[in-house]
Symmetry: D2
Subunit: 493 residues, 4 copies
C-alpha cells in the first residue's frame, strides 16, 4: 500500500529502493497471533516502520498496531495474549514521516453491516486517488491517507451479498499492483493482481493454512511451502477448506524483477526460483559482461554479497570482506549534530584496511539509486589505500520510479536518469563502472533474453515500461495526487 | 456524546452522576489552541478521562488527543506548538472503559469533499443507534462507537451545498440533547438543541469569539460573557462576523435542572442564574422544608458545601468542616489489593473528630445515587462519635436514568428507585433523612413551583418525564443498543 | 531532609511555605508495603514530588522510588507486589529541581557490614554540610546531596556494635530538626530530636506498630492512635515488642507552631491538639484582635477555610465561598506560553462574582510569604466588584527563614521582612491588613501568651528565635553551604 | 567490570562468550559527548545492555546513563546537549539481570574531597570481593554490586595527594584484568594492567586525544591511530599534553587471545595485528590441520565468516552463504510463548536450501561454548538436505571459565570441559568435528608455536593457565563471592 498524501518520493536514508510491505495470514492455528508475529519477523526486511496484527477468536476481532520492529512491539506475552483466536492477519509497513502515521498502519479494519473485515495490502493502486475522490463525493469518510482504504469503501457500498464478492467487485475497479491478505469472520482470503507483480505464497503448518509474502516466513515456523498464489487468483480459506477463484480477466504475468535483485530475502524462493541462487547467477553474468583485472572482490554489505560471491567464483579473483558493516545500525539513527557532521562519520560501514591497502578492488553492489552511498563507500575504500576502485552493479541502471508499492525517489534524483555512464563513474569516483545488461539480468532469471514483445517481468524501474495505466500519476513530472482534502488530512498530527 | 457500545450504565466509582462532556471553541485569537487548553482546564469537572483539541491555521487542520487531564496532556509547549492557528476547538470527555477508547476521544474530524470539519458534542442523541444501522447499510464505515459520529456520516451523505446546511440537515434527523461546537475551514459553529437541555455560552476575548459549556471557561481567560446560545439556535462565526440561524421547529425550553444541583461549577452563571447562589438557596429551602435540631451542619465535601452554607445560614446552626477531603484523590486510584480492602480504607474522606464527637450532626449532600458513599460517610461520622446523624439532600430523590449525556447507573441501582424514604434512611444508617421537594427545587431556581403543564426544566432524572422520544432505549429495562457490528468493533482492543 | 546542593531558597510556585517530608513505617503487618502506600497517601500534603517505599521480607530488602504522587506511583498491584514483607518504610518528598533528583528520593538505603538499613527523615540537620566535609575527607563517598545521607555515613564509621547504637551515636553529632523512621533487619526505629520540632506519632493496627508523621495517616487505615513519640525519644520496635530509649541530653520542647498554622492536615491531632480546632480558634482570636465592619467573610481556599469559619462565627458576619478553587490544579501546571501570560490567566482560583459584587469583603488567609498570590487574589476580588477588601492573616508576619525542613524563600523575598504593615497593605492592594499577634497565636494553641523566657514552640519563622545553632548557615545572608564537591555533584544530570 | 552479586555464570542466550565492556574517552574536543557516543556506537559489540557518558565542561560534570543501545539512548540531540564540555568518558556494558542494574551502569562517578572523578572499566578484578569486605568493615558504603566501585573506595581512603596517585595506589592493591579510562577535572587517564590482558588504544582527532578499547572506534570518527597503551602503562592527558607513567612492577605481556578469535571487531587492529587478517589465517591453519572433502564451505554467520573465507581459499572449496541471518534479530527477543516453542522457531538463522541440498557441507564457526546453537544449526542444515555435515572450529576447545571480564558459563556447562571430541561430534550431530590446535592458533597470530615457558597471550579459557591469582574464586567449583551484604543489596529492586 502507499500513502497518498505523504511526499510520494520520499527516500530512505540508506539510498536504496524500499519494498513497502509484507503480509501474513494464518487460519486454523491455535496461537495464530503468535505465529503471525513470527511470520512478520521473518518479513521484517519488507517494512520496518510499523506493524499490526488483527486476530479473530470466533466471535470478536482483536487488534494491536505499533511503530517499530515486530521484535520490539509484538514479542511480549502481554501483547500476544490480547490477540486470541485461531485466525490472524498481519502487516509490516515501510515508513512515512509524520506523527499521524498510526492511522495508516495496517491491517485496516472495518465493521460492515454484515460483519468485521481486516485487510493487509502489499503493492500500490495506481488509480486510488481518482477512486477516492469519487467515494468522498458520494459520502464516504476516509480515516487514513492510504490507498488501501479505497478498497474498504468500495466494498462498503457494493451491493454484492458476500464479503468475498464485494472484495472481488472492489478489486475489479482498481488498477496497479496488489497482493492482499484479508480476514473476515469466516476465514482468510488471499488475492494477487492479474499481473502478479508482488509475491504471495501459500503454506501449511500442522493443518493450518498460511499466506505470506515470501517463503522465508514459512521457514521460520517450519511450515511447508505449498505453492505461489497465482496472478489473478483469489483464494478463500475457511472451515470448508480452500476455494480458488479466478474472477479477473487474464493478463500476461509480470512479476517484479527487482524482488530478485534486492527486495526479497536471499533465502526465499519466489515463483520457483531461489533468490540467493539468482543473485549469484547475476554476479556470474556480471563477471562475464564486465570483467576487469583486480586483486579482490569486495561486496558492499550486505545486499551485494551474493552477487560478489558469484562474480568472484566466475572471475577467480578472491572474495574478501573489505568493508565491515556495523550490525547495530539500521534500526536506529544517530541524530545529526551539525558540529560533528563534518567528521564524515562512518556509522554503518568501515573499511577493512588490511584487505584494501595497495589493492585493485572491484566493489559489487546490487543497484545504484541516488549514488550518495556509493560515493561515500568509494571514498572510504580509497582512503583505506586501494590502488584502483572499480564498481560493478548487479542490475541495469535504475532510471524510472516505481508506482507499484516501492518507495523510489523522484526521477530527477535517480543518478542513472540524469547522467551517462562516464558521468556516473566520475561522480561516484571510480576508475570504472559497469552495470548488468537487460539481457544479462533476464538470463540470470532463466530467460534467453529480454523480449520486449513478450515480457515475463515488470522491469519498469529500469525501462519505464509500465504494465498498467498510471491514472493518478504524471510519470515524467511530480506526482499528481494532490487533493485538497488529502492535504488537509495529512496535516492532522 | 455517549459511547453506544460501552456498558451504558457504567457508574463512576464515586457514586455521583457524571456530566459527560465539556466543549470549547474560539475563532480569531492568536494562540487559539493555548487558549482552548485553558478553557478546557476550567471545564475539567465536565470530563476528566480524555481530551482533544483541533486547530486550523488557515490552510491545514492539526489535532492532538490524549487520555487524562488537560493539565497533564496539553500543558507542554511542545504539544501546543503542534496546534497552530487562530481557530481551535476542544472537548473534555468523561470515561468509558477499554483500551480502544482513543477512537472515541473528540473532537471528531472528517475530510468532506468540500473541506475538513471537526465536531465536539455535549449531550446524547437518543436515536443514534437507529441512524447508525441505516448508515452502515448504506455503506458508511464507522470508526468509533460514539453517537457523535452519526452526525458526521449524516453530513457526508447530505446533498446540501454548505457545511452549515449539511450540519442543520443532520441535526434535523437527530433527537435528544446536544450542545455542539464545530470548526470548519471558514469558522466555528455553535448549536443547541431546540429544548436547550445542555448549556452553551458565547463570550468575547480581545475581539475573538468564544463558545463554551460554562461561563467559568470565560472567567479563566478574563473573557467577557456575551450571552447564552439559545435553545434551537445555530450560531456561525466566521470572518464576516456572527450569524444566528433558527432552523429547527421551536419547542419549549427544558434546561437540565441537575446542572444547578451538581454538574456545573459553582462559579458559573447558566441561563442567567449564578450556580453557587442557586445552591445556597436550595440549602435555604431545604432548611425550611426539612428542619431538625442539631449542633453542627457538616457538608459532604465538596459538592454539598454551598447547600450546607445555605442550610446553616437559614437554620442558625453552625457550619463546620466535619469531614476533610484528601485533595490528592480524584485523579488517581489506588488499585484494590484484596488483602487491605477489609481495612475500610478512607482514601477520600476523613472524619474531623473534634467537630463530630458528641454532636448532633446534619450532613448535607447534593444528591443520592446508589447510596454507597452516603452509607460509608455516615458510618465514618458515627465512628467519630456523633450522637445523632441526620442527612439532608439538596434535591428530590433521583429515580430515573438520564439519556441526555449523563452517566447514570441502571434504574435498579438507583437507591430511590427501589426504596421508600424510611428504607433509605435505614440503609444509609441515619437518624433521619430528608430530600428537597420538587416545588422547593423549582422555587430555588426562581419559579413559583413545579407546573407539570408548563415545565421550565428537564427534571427527568427525578420525575421520569422525558422531553424527547427514547428511540434507542427501553427505559424500564436494559439499554436496547446492542448491534452486532458494534459489539465486534467494541472488542477491538 | 534538605537538599544541600539545591538552591536552598527555591520557592514553590504557590507562594506557600512547604513542609518537606512525611514519613511512615509499619512492623508486623502482612502487606506492609500496601499499608505504607496508603499511609503516605494520607501524608501527601507533606511532599508531592517523589516518594519511596522499602520493604523487608525477613531476608531481603526491596525498594521502589518514583517521582510524582503516591496514587500515581504506588497504586498498581505490580509495584506493591515487588515489595513483599511484614515491615515497610516510606517517605514523601517535597521538590527539588533537576533531573537527577532520584538520587535524593528517600528512604535512603545502605548495606552495612552487619546488615541492611533504610532511613526516612523529616526535618533538616543544620550542621550536615560541616559533617559531610569531614566525612568526605576521611574517605566517605556521598551519592546524594541530601543531608540525610550524612547520618548513614556517620553510622558506617561508628564503632558501636548495634545498628540502634550506631544511629544514636550518629544523631548525637547532628544538630537541627529530625523526626526519623528507620528499618533494619530486626525491626523499625523511630527517633525525634530532643526539641521535638517535627511531629511523629505511634499507632497500632491489628497488632502491628505504626510510625507516622501525622495522625491522619493512622485514620486512613483505621489504625488506633497510641501516643506521640516524645522529643528526644528513640523507639525500637522488633519481635520482642517496643523499647523506648532516651539517649540524648534533655532539652526544652519546641514543637513547630507552623504545623498548626498551615503544614498539618486539619483532621490531624498533634501533641494532643486537634489542628482544625486550633485553626478555628486562631480565626476567633483574629476576629477579636482585628475586627472590621464587612458583609462577607471569604476564605482564601483551601488553607484559609478553618480560620475563616472561626472568624465568621466570632464576628457574626456570614461565611461565603467567594473564591472557587479549581480542584484540578495543584498536581499539574500549564506551562506558561508567553503569548497568553498577559491574559492574567486564573488557573487556580476564580471569583464567585455573585458573592462579591458590591460587598465589603474580609479575606482570610493563613499566612503571607512573598505576597504574590495575595496580590492576585485581591485584584480578582476587586474585579468581581467588591466595594472594600480587607485581609486578615491567621498568623504573625513571616519574617525569617526556616532551617528545620521547610522550604522558605530567602529573607529578602519575604514580604514581611522588608515592609511595614502599611507598605504591605498597599502592595497587596487591600483597604486594611491585619495579622494575628504572637500572644494571640499562643492563646489559640492553649498558652496564656508567648513567654520568651519559656518558649513552648519553635516560632523562628515569625521571630528569628532559632532553638539550635545554624552551623551551615549565615542566617542574614545567602546560605553558606557551597562546597566544590557538592556543586559538581549537583550538576550531574 | 563484573557484577559481584549477579549470578556469575549467567549465560547469554546466543551461546557465545561475551566481552563485558567497551570504553572510550576524549580530551580537548568540542562536542566531546557526541564524539564519545559515536565511539561507543563503534564499540557496541563489546556491550549492548546499557551505556553511560560523563562529560566535563571545565566546571561541572554531567552524566547520562541508559539501558539499551547507544543508537537508541544517545542519538537524540536533547540527550547530547545535556552533556556539554570538551572532555567526555563513555562505557558500554554487557548484561546483568534485574531491575536495579542502573546502579551498575558505568562510568561510575564520585565526588572526592578534591574533586569529581569518573571511571570506566573493561576487565575484571579477581580480588574485588575480598577488598570490598575490608572496605565495608572500615565504613565505606557501596552503591553498586560492581567490582569497579572497589577502585573508587580505595581511592577515597588513599592518603596520596593527587587523583592520579590515588588511582595508582588503588590499582596496586587490585589483581586481575583492567583497561581503565577515567576522567577528572584536569583531564583523562588511561590505565592498562601489567599483563595487558584487555586492549586499550590511543588515537588523535583534530588535536584531541582519544582512548578507546579498539581501533574501530577511531575509524568511525576518522581519528588517527597513534599506538596501543602498553601493559602496565598509566597515561595522563591534560592541558599540558600527555604524560606516560609506569608505576607497576613489570610483568610478561599476556594479551587475551580470544579477542582475536571472537571478541574484537574484524576491522580493528589490536597489538599491531589486523583482526580480520588473523581470523582468515586461523581459517587457513584450520584448513591445513583439519581438511575433509566437501562441496561447500558455509560460515555460521556472522562470526565464522572470516575463518570460512580463509578455509575456502586454502582448501579451494567454494565459500557459500548456506545460512542466512535475520539482521533484525539480536537487539530484541521474541518472548517464548510455550505454545509455539515446539515449532523450533528459527528466529535468527535460516537455511539457504538451494546451497545445501545434496551437498557435503563444511560449517565453520569461531568456537563452541555450550554447543546448544551448534546443535540447532547442524539440524537445520541437515533438514535442508545436506548429505554430509562437517564442523570446523576456528579455535581450540573452550574448557575453562574466564575471570577477566568475560561472561562465561560455569565449567560444567562448557561442552568441551565434559566431553571427548567424539562425544561432542555425536552431541552436535556432525559427521566430523575438528578444532584448531594450540600451536595452529599461535601460528595464526604470528608465533612459532605455543611455548608454555614463555606465553605471549592469555589463553586460560582454552588451557586453564591463569596469569593471576583468583582470590575471590574457587575455579573448579561455584563462585565464592557470596557475601551477606551483597545478597541483600542484590535484592534491592
Amino acid at each position: 500500500m502507499t500513502d497518498l498524501a505523504a511526499p510520494a518520493w520520499q527516500v530512505g536514508e540508506d539510498d536504496k529502493l524500499h519494498e513497502e510491505c509484507g503480509v501474513f495470514a494464518i487460519y486454523g492455528a491455535s496461537h495464530a497471533a503468535a505465529v503471525t508475529a513470527l511470520g512478520l519477523h521473518a518479513l521484517q526486511h519488507r517494512g520496518q516502520e510499523a506493524a499490526g496484527i488483527v486476530s479473530f477468536d470466533g466471535k470478536l476481532f482483536h487488534q494491536h498496531r505499533a511503530k517499530g520492529l515486530i521484535g520490539d512491539s509484538f514479542s511480549r506475552k502481554s501483547v500476544i495474549e490480547q490477540l486470541p483466536g485461531n485466525a490472524a492477519l498481519g502487516h509490516n509497513r515501510y515508513a512515512t514521516t509524520g506523527a499521524s502515521e498510526m492511522r495508516n498502519v495496517q491491517p485496516l479494519y472495518a465493521d460492515f453491516a454484515f460483519g468485521g473485515f481486516a485487510l493487509a495490502h502489499n503493492g500500490n493502486l495506481s488509480n486510488a486517488g481518482k477512486l477516492r475522490r469519487e467515494l468522498v463525493q458520494r459520502g464516504s469518510i476516509f480515516q487514513s491517507t492510504s490507498d488501501t482504504e479505497t478498497i474498504i469503501h468500495l466494498m462498503a457500498i457494493s451491493k454484492k451479498k458476500t464479503i468475498v464478492h464485494r472484495l472481488i467487485e472492489a478489486m475489479e475497479q482498481c488498477e496497479g499492483a496488489y497482493s492482499l491478505a484479508a480476514m473476515y469472520d469466516d476465514g482468510i482470503i488471499g488475492v494477487r493482481d492479474p499481473l502478479g507483480i508482488r509475491p504471495l505464497v501459500l503454506g501449511e503448518l500442522d493443518g493450518a493454512s498460511v499466506l505470506a509474502s515470501e517463503t522465508c516466513a514459512l521457514d521460520i515456523l517450519g511450515a511447508a511451502y505449498v505453492r505461489d498464489i497465482e496472478p489473478g487468483e483469489v483464494v478463500v480459506i475457511d472451515k470448508r477448506g480452500m476455494t480458488s477463484l479466478r474472477p479477473f480477466k487474464p493478463r500476461e504475468h509480470r512479476f517484479c524483477i527487482f524482488e530478485y535483485v534486492y527486495f526479497a530475502r536471499p533465502d526465499s524462493t519466489l515463483e520457483g526460483r531461489g533468490v540467493y541462487d539468482i543473485r549469484k547467477r547475476i554476479g556470474q553474468e556480471l563477471a562475464r559482461e564486465q570483467p576487469t583485472p583486480a586483486d579482490v572482490i569486495v561486496p558492499v554489505p550486505d545486499s551485494g554479497v551474493p552477487a560478489a560471491i558469484g562474480y568472484a567464483q566466475e572471475s577467480g579473483i578472491p572474495f574478501e570482506l573489505g568493508i565491515i558493516r556495523n550490525h547495530y545500525v539500521g534500526r536506529t539513527f544517530i541524530e545529526p549534530t551539525d558540529q560533528i557532521r563534518h567528521l564524515g562519520v562512518k556509522l554503518k560501514h568501515n573499511a577493512n584496511r588490511s584487505m584494501l591497502a595497495g589493492k585493485r578492488v572491484i566493489l559489487v553492489d546490487d543497484s545504484i539509486v541516488r549514488g550518495t552511498t556509493s560515493t561515500k563507500i568509494v571514498a572510504m575504500v580509497r582512503q583505506a589505500g586501494a590502488s584502483e576502485v572499480h564498481m560493478r552493479i548487479a542490475s541495469p541502471p535504475t532510471q524510472h520510479g516505481c508506482y507499484y508499492g516501492v518507495d523510489t525517489p523522484e526521477r530527477s534524483k535517480l543518478l542513472a536518469a540524469r547522467h551517462t555512464l562516464d558521468e556516473m563513474a566520475r561522480i561516484i569516483g571510480v576508475d570504472s563502472l559497469g552495470f548488468l545488461s537487460f539481457d544479462g539480468l533476464y538470463r540470470a532469471v532463466g530467460e534467453a533474453k529480454r523480449d520486449p514483445a513478450n515480457l515475463a517481468f515488470c522491469d519498469a524501474c529500469f525501462t519505464g515500461d509500465y504494465p498498467t495505466p498510471l491514472t493518478d500519476y504524471d510519470h515524467e513530472n511530480a506526482p499528481a495526487n494532490s487533493l485538497p482534502g488529502l492535504l488537509q488530512e495529512a496535516a492532522i498530527s
